[in-house]
Every structure is written in C-alpha cells, then in structure tokens.
C-alpha cells in the first residue's frame, strides 16, 4: 500500500490504495499521527484507490479522527468505494466519518 501526501488549501490529503487492512492500517494511522504532530490537524483521507477495508482499517480511521479532533482539527474521508461505504453504513460509523464524494468536496468550505 502506498500513501501519497499532498496539500490543498491548508488541508493535508493522504491518498491510499489497495487493501486497507490489519497489515496496512498501522502505517496509515502512524502517518495521520505524524501529520497531526507536525501541526496539520485538518486531514482528508482519499480512499479512491482502496478496494477493501476491514475492521482494522476502520480502527485506523477512527483513531486518526480522535487524534485530529484532540488537536482541534478533523479527519474526513473522500471517494470511498462501495465496499467501504457499505461497511461504514453497517457500523453507523458514517455518522462520524462522513464520506465525501471527492477530495474537492471534502476540502471545500473547510
């Protein structure tokens, strides 16, 4: 799994791809923590390239959300695929991790 980092209007965008599972989740969570520690607490995770997420992946996103909020920021997700949206809805986690259709929509008006 690759993590590509970019910045857009003062928001850090982390783009991931492949399977977001117990193998890759710790790396993404660590990257979110580093980003927040570096002073950027507004983060969008771009899930366009993610075809599968499991509970460890969800755990990384929730953990990242908590970290960002503790630093008075937030974490949003963008471009989630069908499987990701299904799992978010099932667990009701879409209530706190609102899926935005695109990175632009997630960054817009922040």
């Amino acid at each position: 799994m690759q993590i590509e980092q970019s910045e857009r209007d003062g928001v850090v965008v982390l783009a991931t791809s492949g399977r977001f599972n117990m193998v890759s989740a710790p790396r993404i969570k660590a990257r979110i923590d580093e980003t927040v520690a570096a002073g950027n607490a507004r983060i969008v995770v771009d899930l366009a390239g993610v075809d599968f997420i499991d509970s460890s992946g969800l755990g990384a996103l929730i953990g990242g959300l908590k970290t960002a909020r503790q630093a008075s920021g937030d974490l949003r997700i963008a471009a989630a695929g069908d499987q990701v949206v299904t799992v978010l809805k099932l667990t009701n986690l879409d209530r706190i991790l609102t899926p935005f259709d695109t990175v632009e929509a997630a960054v817009d008006g922040w």
């Binding site: 509970s55 755990g59 929730i62 809805k89 667990t91 009701n92």
Partner: protein, 396 residues
C-alpha cells in the same frame, strides 16, 4: 551407552503432551525449516522428530531417505532419542566407526552414515525432540559456523513450538468461554457457533437467563482486528457484560460495558461492534441494543426484519448513547445475529437475510440452523471470523 539416564522424564512427557503435536498433520511453519536446512547443509534428509514415551514422531521431513512426515520410529532405534539427552548437538560423523554406537540398531543401516541432531527445548527447558540432519555416507564434522546455524534453525523451531502451544491453549480457553449449557425454555431454543479465522480471535457470543425476570439475554460482539489483542479485549467485554447484566437493564448494561472498556479500547486503538437482546419467553417480546453491529435479523415464514439502529461501535466516541429498541419474535420465527464474516461471504445484508430464510426452511431447531449458517459461510473464502447466534421459537 553411558550417561543416558534422563531426569524428569515424566515432566518431559507432560511437555510433549502439552504441545498437542503428536500424530498431527504436517504444518508449513515446520516444513519450511526442514526445507531450508536441507538446502543449507546439502543433505538428503532433514527431519523434526518429537520424542515421546515409546517412539519418536516425525512432525516434518524433507527428503525420503528415512521416515516420512507423520511416521514413527521406536525409541530404541531413534538417534533423536539419544540427541535429547543433552542440550548440545549430537553429531555422529561416521556411525560405523563411532564407539558410542557399537550396539545401535541403526549402525548397520546402509543408508545412514552421518547424523547431526540439535535438541529442541520448550520454554520450560524440556527437550522434546530434535532437528536432525542425515546423510548416507560419513561426512566431515560441522564447522563452528555450521553448528551455530543449525542451532539457530533449532531455535526457530523452538519458537514455533512455544507459540503454537500458547495459541492452542488460548484457543481452548476461548472455546470454553462460550456458553455450553442450553437454557431449558419450552418452545424456545438457543444455539451458537463461533469459528475464529486464527487460533484466537475477537468474536464471541454469550447468553444467560436473567434469574430475576426469567428473561433471556443473548449477545454477539466483534472486537476490531484479529489475534491475541482482539481475544483479550473480547474476554474483557464478556466478563463485564456477564457481571452487570443480571443486575441491570439492557441500557445500563451496555453503558457499563462501554464505560469500563473505553480506556482499554482507546489505549489499543480498538473498538467493538456489539448486539444484545433480551427476550421474554412467555410472549416473545424482545428489546435489543445495537452498537454498530448491524447484522441482526428476525426472520420467519411471513416476514424478514433487519434490526437496524443508529448506534456507533463501543469505543468509537466516548460519549455515545445507545437507544433500546423493541420488537417481537413470533411463533415460527428466529432471531439471528451473525458476524461481519457473513457480509464478506454474502456481499450485503439483503443476501444474508435470504440465506437465513432459506436455511430456516431447510432446518429444524436452533442448533441445526446455526450449524447450517456457519457451514455456508465457512465453505466460502473468508479470512474473517464466522460467528452466529440463533434464538428460535417453535411454530406452535
């Protein structure tokens, strides 16, 4: 042969039994070590032999010179049985000229010239077997570096033996934490299945009769992730739920689980999806609470209900409130809760409901339904745990 008295043989045999590896099938975690050793030392045969009371058992073997995997050899013919008498590697460079083995039955075996066996120890220090190299002809002694490498490979096997034993024990403990006694409720049956993807996992189910009200509580929880961390957290959730449920309402019980687990879940970056229901056997009235689990259904000949809710998983946000919902299990209907392993297999909850409906028609009783559902999920490729709880009310 001098110095062959083994002290504490009983303890050694107990350690062997605790491994639970005698007469078990080959495993890749051991096979890869013997393959590697065969390559490194360029010998025709390498084996991992476990030395029991009367015979040694070949757990892994590379090459067909001697015993195949799962074969046994009487101890009096086993050189590994000799190798476990010391912590040091036993090396026999030429068995036919070695005075220590003048009377050994294998001395005249034309296929055996050279033997090296590194003893395999448990964490408790019991020598339970040996990683052995065999060559047809006599051979020069291993260099110091080769000796160290053989010892390294033996340590690798020892680590596999230890981990396997711990996990096997953990797996057994986890099985015992599932409810075994079936509540005696005329007109009702309760059953469950839990098959962890690994030796241990984060799924569990439970049920208990609440003595004060006579109502019955069933629950299914799925701790994020896999393996030991998930299993330990699951045991915590189960214990808190068991402790609080007989004395508290369903709402107060989930609150208690969430409040008591929040520190551990935060610390480990984990969360738990959880569903619990209480039903009244007299009329089938059900109250339930769902913390982000989302896979509970009431299915009967006349209706299929997905018991939805808005609740987040336990541990997702510290101040989450969970609402209690109500429904009813009518005659001929079943309350079925499954883990998300079923979603991996069947795609969406609509398909899961269809699968349950079909299984309901094909089976009688709760146990048959639970077994059928678990079998259907396990038949497909899933890397997740597969857990199901069924409360089934008879038609009449």
């Amino acid at each position: 042969m001098p110095g062959l008295q083994i002290e504490d043989e009983d303890e050694r045999l107990a350690a062997i039994r605790a491994l639970n590896l005698f007469n078990t099938a080959p495993e890749e975690r051991f096979d890869r070590v013997v393959r590697l050793a065969q390559h490194i030392f360029n010998v025709p045969y390498v084996a991992i032999n476990l030395v029991g009371e009367h015979e040694h058992f070949t757990k892994a073997a590379a090459g067909d010179l001697f015993g195949a995997p799962m074969s046994t050899l009487p101890r009096e013919e086993s050189l590994c049985s000799v190798a476990i008498e010391s912590d040091r590697t036993l090396e026999i460079t030429d068995i036919r000229s070695d005075e220590r083995f003048t009377d050994h039955p294998l001395r005249d075996n034309a296929e055996l010239g050279y033997y090296a066996g590194a003893p395999l120890r448990t964490p408790g220090g019991q020598r339970v077997g040996s990683l052995c190299l065999i060559d047809n002809d006599s051979r020069r002694a291993l260099s110091v570096g080769e000796q160290a490498m053989l010892r390294d490979l033996a340590s690798w096997v020892e680590r596999e033996l230890a981990t396997g034993a711990d996990l096997e024990q953990g797996s057994e403990v986890q099985r015992r934490l599932l409810p075994r006694s079936i509540p005696d409720l005329p007109g009702w049956e309760v059953a469950g299945r839990c098959v962890q993807a690994g030796a241990v996992g984060g799924d569990f189910y439970d049920w208990l009769v609440l003595e004060r009200s006579g109502n019955v509580q069933v629950a299914l929880a799925d701790v994020m992730g896999k393996g030991l961390q998930a299993a330990l957290l699951a045991a915590g959730v189960r214990a808190i739920l068991r402790g609080t449920s007989p004395h508290n309402s369903l709402a107060a019980s989930i609150r208690r689980v969430a409040d008591d687990m929040v520190g551990d879940l935060d610390e480990l970056g984990s969360f738990v999806t959880f569903f619990a229901a209480r039903f009244r056997p007299e009329d089938g009235a059900v109250e339930y609470v769902d913390a982000g689990h989302g896979l509970a259904f009431i299915i009967g000949p006349d209706r299929e209900v997905h018991l939805e809710s808005e609740g987040l998983p336990i541990g997702a946000l510290p101040d989450e409130q969970w609402e209690i919902h109500e429904d009813r299990v009518g005659p001929g209907e079943a309350l079925v809760i499954v883990s998300d392993g079923f979603l991996d297999v069947h795609g969406d909850h609509g398909t899961v409901m269809d699968v349950i409906q079909e299984a309901l028609g094909r089976t009688e009783g709760a146990d048959a339904l639970a077994a059928e559902l678990a079998r259907g999920a396990l038949g497909k490729a899933t890397t997740d745990d597969v857990t199901v709880v069924v409360v089934r009310r008879s038609a009449a």
